[in-house]
């Protein structure tokens, strides 16, 4: 073989038809349908996130609290508007609604136990309530979703809050999916569906359409729970300003806004990547809506979608959130994407840290599966302890930041405690761009 003397030709790829695009087109050409996956957006293009903000701790203008010891309250109260028994939590981080079906039994129970241990809450999901999750949840929020799988008034009455879900951040405007491998005997019984169907949940509630109906629906839920517990309304972040106003006007005690980065068990990929607005933008619009109605502080705001740590949570709280829901981060604490059973990640065509294959039902670490053998890989008590630890560490992170900003309560964090690192974040969050004393765009 003769050796070429010319230098190797540099490979050049189309910026439009990248490897990913080629793979996407060829997969669709084989299957004839859009791509479905779990986890959340894999979109590569950058958008404004909490990373575009930085805290401005005290120096001379303000006095910090002692970082590791001075009291800094994390107590969180939700549902003070109409409910007779508002929810009281020891920390502001809560476990979001993830269905038994999307998640394994072990994962559901571990989340319930882990959250309860540290005085947080757990939420049911699109499949009704699991008896063990009630048993192990100190505080349980019951979701009422468009599908109404497993809807049961007795379970509602055993709950500490009701969440009327209008949409999710990963897929606003469309229903959830649970593919056949996860519609096991137990799940089909729970949801009253044939075993092994590719379950597609509806997008609209069966008995209400717009916000006017929702006023009556909320009253119905209050009647069913004797006006005791708070009613949450959960929205996928879309037209957040208007939607939050409508939810608050309809009588919600608590509004949940789930941003574009929100996780999912299975949804069309295009929804995860190309619908909704980012969590950072969503929290700002939601706060503005409540302020403009004079309801800020009266209707509590929970923010979800891509919250990774106490830093994201603290920034969301400084921008206006009363509490934070986490989903994916809690699953990662359970072991999602951990380099265990690596061969099984390979079988799915992926690697630890790259997995987003919750939709397959073949979760290598037993979190998002109904396969009893895979589920055994997630021992409940150890997993619960990791959830507790994550919630504790995140809370400590929030407290540290709050103390450094001179706050004796994490809920006292405010936009003034931050500067923006990009003009976009300055425009969106209405905080000055670092290095200037100017809020851009105002």
């Amino acid at each position: 073989m003769s050796e070429s003397s010319s230098p190797p030709r540099a490979l050049q790829q189309s910026g439009i038809f990248s490897s990913r695009v080629i793979e996407d087109i060829q997969t669709k050409a084989e299957s004839g349908i859009y791509q479905i996956r779990g986890y959340g957006t894999l979109r590569e293009r950058r958008w404004a996130t909490f990373d575009d903000l930085t805290f401005l701790p005290c120096s001379l203008t303000r006095i910090p609290l002692e970082g590791y010891r001075e009291k800094c309250s994390t107590k969180t109260v939700l549902g003070t508007r109409f409910a007779e028994k508002p929810i009281e939590l020891d920390i502001p981080i809560m476990i979001t609604g993830m269905s038994w079906g999307a998640l394994s039994y072990n994962a559901k129970v571990a989340l319930a136990k882990g959250a309860s241990e540290i005085g947080s809450s757990n939420t049911t999901g699109d499949g009704g309530m699991l008896a063990a999750e009630r048993e192990h949840s100190k505080t349980l929020i019951y979701e009422v979703l468009p599908s109404r799988y497993g809807i049961n008034v007795h379970h509602m009455q055993m709950s500490d809050g009701i969440e009327l879900t209008i949409g999710q951040g990963a897929k606003p405007g469309t229903g959830g999916l649970l593919l056949e491998t996860k519609v096991s005997d137990a799940i089909s019984k729970q949801r009253e569906l044939p075993v092994g169907v590719d379950q597609r949940s509806p997008a609209r509630h069966p008995d209400m359409l717009g916000p006017d109906d929702m006023v009556i629906k909320i009253e119905e839920l209050r009647e069913a729970t004797n006006w005791q517990v708070p009613i949450f309304v959960k929205l996928g972040a879309s037209r957040v300003y208007d939607d939050v106003k409508l939810a608050a006007k309809a009588g919600a005690d608590v509004v949940v806004v789930d941003g574009m980065e929100g996780g999912t068990g299975a949804s069309p990929a295009i929804f995860q990547d190309h619908t909704g607005i980012p969590t950072l933008a969503a929290v700002c619009e939601a706060r503005a809506a409540l302020e403009d109605m004079g309801l800020y502080g009266k209707v509590q705001l929970i923010i979800a979608g891509g919250i990774r740590d106490g830093v994201d949570a603290a920034k969301a709280m400084a921008l206006g959130a009363d509490a934070i829901y986490i989903g994916t981060a809690a699953l990662i604490a359970l072991n999602c994407n951990r380099p265990l059973y690596v061969d099984d990640y390979h079988k799915l065509g992926t690697e630890p840290h790259f997995c987003h294959h919750c939709h397959t039902g073949q979760c290598p670490v037993g979190v998002t599966t109904q396969d009893p053998e895979l589920m055994k890989r997630l021992p409940i008590d150890e997993a619960a302890e990791r959830v507790t630890n994550l919630l504790r560490a995140m809370t400590l992170e929030i407290q540290m930041l709050a103390r450094s900003c001179g706050k004796s309560d994490v809920h006292h964090l405010e936009p003034e405690d931050m500067a923006a690192l990009t003009p976009e974040a300055s425009v969106i969050c209405k905080v000055p761009l670092a290095g200037t004393r100017r809020v851009w765009g105002s």
Partner: protein, 235 residues
């Protein structure tokens, strides 16, 4: 028989009284319901409640066990998510009657609106007259009997609900198909209609053999590219 008068009382007060009286074993007549919303929500004891007039949205919603009779018409979401019991409306029912019910029986002696029986999971719905657009949508189980005609998209995207229609079907929804009624089906129709509809209304209906049976074609149960033509419309 206890009597409750709605006028000038809040829904919360009215419902609290209904629940208390039901628990005490009283049969109740609720006077002047005034088409108000959320009357008789979450009735969780057996016993009889009569609404002496029309009711609004979600009457008898989230119910488990009571027998409710409405001597008038009902608004949206009548008996939604019922677990067990009986709801009989002598007039018409608005949209989404019997939405997501998991048991019990809902009987509409007049007509019912759009999405009757939407997402029903079990139980029985009988409409003596006609039903509106997209009735039976995503029905997961149970049975629905429509004495009269159906509007368009009947039985769209169902799982295992079985429907019977005495009149004309304007249009079958995605994946809804006609099936042959068995002798068992005919017997079920005879006994259900005899049990729940007065003779005067039964007289307008065909006999059991004259009812069409509508079930799921099961082509939308799983994603298959061979059935793409159906998916094209349904997705």
């Amino acid at each position: 028989m206890a009597e409750l008068i709605c006028e000038e009382r809040t829904i919360r007060e009215i419902n609290a009284d209904i629940r208390r009286l039901l628990k005490e074993g009283e049969a109740i007549t609720v006077r002047s319901p005034g088409a108000r919303h959320n009357l008789g929500v979450a009735l969780l004891a057996s016993g009889e409640v009569v609404f002496d007039g029309s009711v609004g949205y979600y009457c008898a919603g989230l119910m488990d066990g009571a027998t409710v009779r409405i001597k008038g018409s009902a608004g949206w979401g009548l008996a939604e998510s019922m677990l067990s019991g009986e709801v009989i409306v002598e007039g018409n029912a608005g949209n989404s009657a019997g939405a997501a019910i998991r048991g019990g029986a809902l009987v509409v002696q007049g007509d019912s609106g759009a999405r009757t029986g939407v997402s029903m999971k079990n139980g029985l719905i009988i409409v003596s007259g006609s039903c509106g657009y997209m009735s039976g949508f995503m029905g997961q189980g149970g049975k629905m009997i429509i004495g009269g005609d159906t509007a368009e998209a009947f039985g769209d995207s169902m799982y295992e609900t079985i429907c019977f229609v005495g009149g004309e079907i304007a249009d079958l929804g995605n994946d809804a198909i006609l099936a042959e009624s068995s002798d068992e089906d005919k017997q079920f129709l005879d006994t259900s209609l005899a049990r729940y509809l007065p003779a005067s209304l039964r007289a307008n209906l065909p006999d059991a053999a004259g009812f069409k049976k509508v079930v799921s074609g099961r082509k939308l149960w799983n994603f298959k590219k061979s059935e793409w033509k159906t998916w094209e419309q349904a997705l």
